[in-house]
């Protein structure tokens, strides 16, 4: 079918303003948060309701037109990168909070609702939605489901998959599936888990029932300095070994500490080789007990300085530096490249040392700032794209880091997804038999491969292309958001 004919058919489903087809209108949709990859979509459609989405899908199915779903476009792996001859399906206008049930502690929301908006409506009931990606003021809950997003607090409260109960999903044929239920489990296979993190390849999510949990009475933060990054790594193991699951446990290395301190002056210890931020939350008794134990373990693990937030203002100040790590990287280097590997915590010191060696070998600095509690690393390689060959070196360095993560039993992506970015590394992490199973699952849902083709799961013969999150001199699309 010709492009014009498709536009006419789409316009029969949607009001004219909801079908974008001029290049100028398409431009804002050419990439997601990974702006190194750009592609103008064939069209963008902006449906208002599920009925319209169904009609769009039926049309695309009948005409064999690829469909790429898009939430807020904050993804960091190119998951919402448009398809050259496909419809970019924006779910942004499905942005209603359908209902909130404080007694059952659930909220039913449309996919375009922003993550933080859910916690805001739940707040008067003393409840909130736990997963808190740093992009939470912008990213959509539909995108969170598609990526299985985490946040600083997922160490204690889990990822998206642990915090949703039910999904309404449309198949590419436009059929409605109700997956999960209002109870804590559902009949049949765990399709809720399968859909979560499926990066828009299996179906379009049009409604989500999320769990809400009680707001903690209190939160307090211990900040500890170490003269050796290995000691900091050991302190993490000691805290968890002592039976404490902190609400969050983050680590920064020396380059990061200096970069953020220069940027924000939060009062970080500039003599430290590593700083650990360890938060406890819950009821008052639990928090004071836990904080006391955390302080003690930090001391015993050789911390050179331990300070505990005395009020919420101070707690947020301690956090501010951590949250500003990405923009700070942008200030000390023209460009940076963000990785997202996860490793078993016991290999933290080894992998950090390995990164340090690679850093020397490639002559590129690398900031380490990460979710230490769950071993999710976000190394930031600092480089200058204007220096010939440096980008290629950086990519090679990055690939080596991910290979190292795999070699110690870790994974290439903890929370940012595979998207278009890590197709190569999927081939390293999985064998051909596993990749064949992934493709088989895709076939079970979308035999014509119309949903987000070319993403997340590499074909066996095409284990090529690789990229990363490149940020060039303020070209960062979400400069105002804190980064993790």
């Amino acid at each position: 079918m010709s492009r014009n004919e498709l536009i006419r058919r789409l316009q029969a489903i949607l009001p004219a303003e909801a079908v974008l087809h001029d290049n100028e209108d398409l431009r804002p949709y050419e990439c997601d948060g990974l702006s190194a990859y750009k592609q103008l979509p064939y069209f963008v459609v902006l449906p208002h309701n599920e009925a319209q989405v169904i009609e769009i899908l039926k049309l695309c199915h009948a005409t064999r037109t690829p469909v790429v779903a898009r939430g807020a476009g904050t993804g960091l792996s190119g998951g919402a990168l448009p398809h050259v001859s496909g419809v970019l399906l924006s779910l942004a206008r499905l942005n209603q909070i359908v209902s909130i049930n404080p007694q059952a502690r659930t909220a039913c929301v449309q996919p375009g609702v922003r993550n933080l908006a859910i916690s805001e409506v739940a707040k008067p009931y003393g409840l909130y939605y736990a997963p808190d990606p740093s992009s939470q003021i912008a990213c959509s809950i539909g995108g969170n489901v598609a990526e299985n997003s985490g946040g600083v607090h997922c160490l204690k409260y889990g990822l998206t998959v642990h915090n949703i109960l039910k999904l309404r999903v449309l198949t590419i044929a436009g059929e409605v599936l109700e997956i999960g239920g209002e109870g804590l489990d559902s009949a049949g296979y765990d399709l809720l888990a399968l859909m979560t993190g499926s990066e828009g390849l299996l179906g379009i999510v049009t409604e989500i029932v999320v769990k809400l949990i009680p707001l903690p009475q209190k939160a307090q933060l211990v900040m500890a300095s170490f003269e050796d990054i290995r000691k900091a790594g050991q302190a993490v193991a000691n805290i968890i070994g002592a039976g404490i699951i902190p609400a969050g446990m983050e680590m920064m290395d020396k380059i990061t500490i200096h970069a953020v301190e220069e940027f924000l002056q939060v009062g970080y210890d500039l003599n430290a080789e590593a700083i650990l931020l360890c938060e406890s939350d819950g009821n008052i008794e639990e928090v004071s007990d836990e904080i006391e134990r955390i302080e003690m373990i930090m001391q015993q693990s050789g911390a050179t300085r331990v300070s505990t937030s005395q009020n919420d203002l101070e707690r947020l100040r301690f956090w501010a530096g951590r949250k500003a790590a990405f923009p700070a990287a942008g200030r000390v280097s023209p460009d940076y490249y963000c990785m997202d590997g996860t490793i078993p915590r016991k290999h933290l010191a080894k992998v950090l040392q390995g990164i340090e060696m690679l850093s020397q070998q490639y002559g590129l600095r690398c900031m380490n700032v990460f979710h230490a509690g769950d071993g999710n690393l976000h190394p930031l390689i600092l480089y200058d794209a204007n220096t010939p060959g440096e980008l290629e070196k950086t990519e090679e360095f990055g690939a080596k880091i991910l290979e190292m993560c795999i070699s110690v039993g870790g994974t290439i992506t903890g929370e940012h997804g595979v998207g278009i970015e890590k197709m190569d590394q999927m081939c390293t992490q999985f064998g051909s038999a596993e990749l064949a199973v992934f493709r088989a699952i895709k076939t079970a849902f979308d035999p014509l491969e119309l949903l987000n083709p070319g993403k997340a799961i590499p074909t066996l013969h095409r284990c090529a292309e690789m990229g990363a999150m490149h940020v060039h001199q303020g070209a960062d699309k979400f400069a105002h958001l804190p980064r993790f």
Binding site: D185, L191, L202, G243, F430, A444
Partner: protein, 361 residues
């Protein structure tokens, strides 16, 4: 141990070739669960021969064990290090295995506060219907590479593949636990459990039966004491408390004793659903979202299924003495299609536990 896998692979290839079903069996403690009418010509694949702990590092909060490992062995090892399987899986017998626990996907009293089996599964090694040795997920807490096949295996009752090894997240055991009991009516109990769950309280289990609400507090001593003071009730002594939850988890409590004229139904619904007007006796767990119903064999199945659906959930005929009942809740036609397609992909010859979950799978 590789020779055991070789043997399984050979058995699978043979079964696939001849299209003869394989019953995947281990401790035989959950044989009652599911559509258990055995197919006449089915062979058994015995998983108990593939056993043993593969890896456990307490500071990592992860254990990896072979599917045939006894659940009691896993729990004893964790206990030595002050840790636990936080979903408190029911064993239903001494010989229960880890593989059976994951395949059945059943969780115990702590489920509402801490999570279900599927929430703690980090990775699996498995054999599919072609006998291929596959690894999904891993030993790390966060992993979004590829589809979440590991969790898909939980509760699939072996219909998608043979679990070989499983990595689970484990949690520290609470420092203090205490159980209390409050006399209360059904409606008020539902209301109370839901209101409590909306507050930052260290409640780790609830159970309501016959005008009594039992609840368990877990955590640091000061928090448990403060909550006890706030919520009230009569405290059970430590041993009584432990035995009580054990009897709910393992269904040895008198309520669960089903005579041959009884059916035991399991309804998983919205926690704040009002009392269900169904004939029979009920016991609630999980803040009201799990409702056990004991009634007689001639009860109206349709009415029970409808009641569950009305409150956003599903009903399972958990224990029964009927010969050909379909025990799981019927799926919508759209979901049936997806289930069939997945089964077809994982087990093209349809050899693994055919019919155990749904007649068409």
């Amino acid at each position: 141990m590789q020779s055991v896998i070789d043997h399984y692979q050979e058995a699978i290839r043979l079964a696939a070739e001849n299209k003869t079903p394989l019953q995947i069996r281990a401790g035989n403690t959950k044989t009652f669960y599911g559509n258990t009418a055995l197919l006449p010509s089915s062979n058994t694949l015995d998983i108990t021969t593939y056993h043993g702990i593969v890896d456990y590092d307490p500071a990592e909060l992860v254990i990896t064990a072979r599917a045939g490992t006894r659940l009691s062995e896993v729990e004893a090892l964790l206990n030595q290090h002050g840790q636990m399987l936080a979903f408190e899986p029911p064993h239903f017998g001494e010989s229960a295995t880890l593989g059976g626990c994951v395949a059945a996907g059943l969780s115990g009293p702590r489920r509402a506060s801490t999570g279900a089996v599927r929430d703690f599964v980090l990775g699996v090694r498995m054999l599919n219907g072609k006998g291929e040795d596959l690894h999904f997920g891993g030993q790390v807490m966060k992993n979004v590479a590829g589809y979440d096949v590991s969790r898909l295996m939980v509760g699939a009752l072996g219909t998608l593949g043979v679990l070989l090894e499983i990595s689970l997240k484990v949690l520290p055991k609470p420092i203090v636990e205490t159980t209390l009991c409050i006399p209360i009516g059904e409606t008020a109990a539902i209301d109370k459990m839901n209101r409590w769950a909306g507050q930052p309280l260290p409640i780790s289990a609830t159970c309501y039966h016959k005008d009594q609400l039992f609840y368990r507090l877990s955590g640091v001593e000061s928090a448990v004491k403060a909550a006890q003071l706030k919520l009230g009730g009569d405290e059970l002594n430590e041993q009584q408390g432990i035995s009580f939850w054990q009897s709910i988890r393992e269904q040895t409590d008198h309520f669960f004793m089903t005579a041959s004229h009884n059916n035991l139904w399991r309804l998983s619904i919205a926690s704040n659903a009002p009392p269900l007007a169904l004939a029979g006796e009920q016991l609630f767990e999980w803040n009201g979202s799990l409702r056990w119903l004991k009634n007689t064999v001639d009860c109206d199945h349709q009415a029970i299924r409808q009641a569950a659906e009305k409150y956003g959930g599903h009903a399972i005929l958990f224990r029964h003495h009927l010969t050909n009942a379909s025990v799981f809740h019927p799926l919508s036609s759209g979901l049936v299609k997806i289930h069939r397609a997945l089964k077809e992909q994982f087990d093209p010859a349809g050899i693994f536990n055919p019919g155990r979950l749904y007649p068409e799978l």
